[in-house]
Symmetry: C2
């Protein structure tokens, strides 16, 4: 299965999913599947900015010996983004509408991340 | 009810809760209730660092017109922190063990935040 197919599968199975990306920890996108439009939000650009947020969370957690960041979720008025670490260099993120199925998104990230990791 | 009582009530009602804080957006703590020890993690210091993470998420969301950040959750190997905006200047955050009740924590933040806001 290609990266894109995994990302597409996550979107297809999560109600309210807008996009799913595999990204480098540096914010450079490896692949993205866009499922739907988000209310006037440039989701791809937002996810790049969020990768910096993930990096700063990582640095904070490491500095305080809280361990690696497994997951981070950011909910705004228009979009919910859930990111999961795939490897030290990569993470995957799914963006949903605020009324999307957050629990299902988390579950699918948890099961898909190891599959992506094995293909990296 | 004092701030501290609200924070204590959240901790008491969330399995696995370690601490609950009301903090300024600048990372300065208003009040904190510490319920339990976290595995060698200095939770108070970590939450101060996480306030910077919340600020950078806010800036990213605003820059991309995704609206205000309502909630952010950061899960590491040793600690799960869930923060909720109380007002533009304040947020509250609950720290849990990784096996703590995340759903209950989110629910209680959602209902407690407006109560704290009305007392600020």
């Amino acid at each position: 299965m290609s990266f894109r197919e995994h990302l597409e599968q996550v979107c297809r199975n999560v109600d309210g999913a807008v996009a799913c990306s595999l990204m480098g920890a540096d914010g450079i996108e490896v692949d993205t599947h866009v499922q739907a439009d988000a209310a006037n939000v440039d989701v791809k650009s937002l996810l790049v900015e969020y990768s910096a947020v993930l990096r700063s969370a990582r640095e904070a957690a490491e500095a305080h010996e809280a361990g690696g960041v497994a997951e981070i979720a950011i909910a705004t008025d228009k979009l919910l983004a859930v990111a999961r670490t795939v490897s030290p260099e990569y993470f995957m993120v799914v963006a949903l509408r605020p009324d999307g199925n957050y629990g299902k998104a988390r579950y699918l990230l948890r099961v898909t991340a190891p599959r992506l990791r094995s293909e990296l």
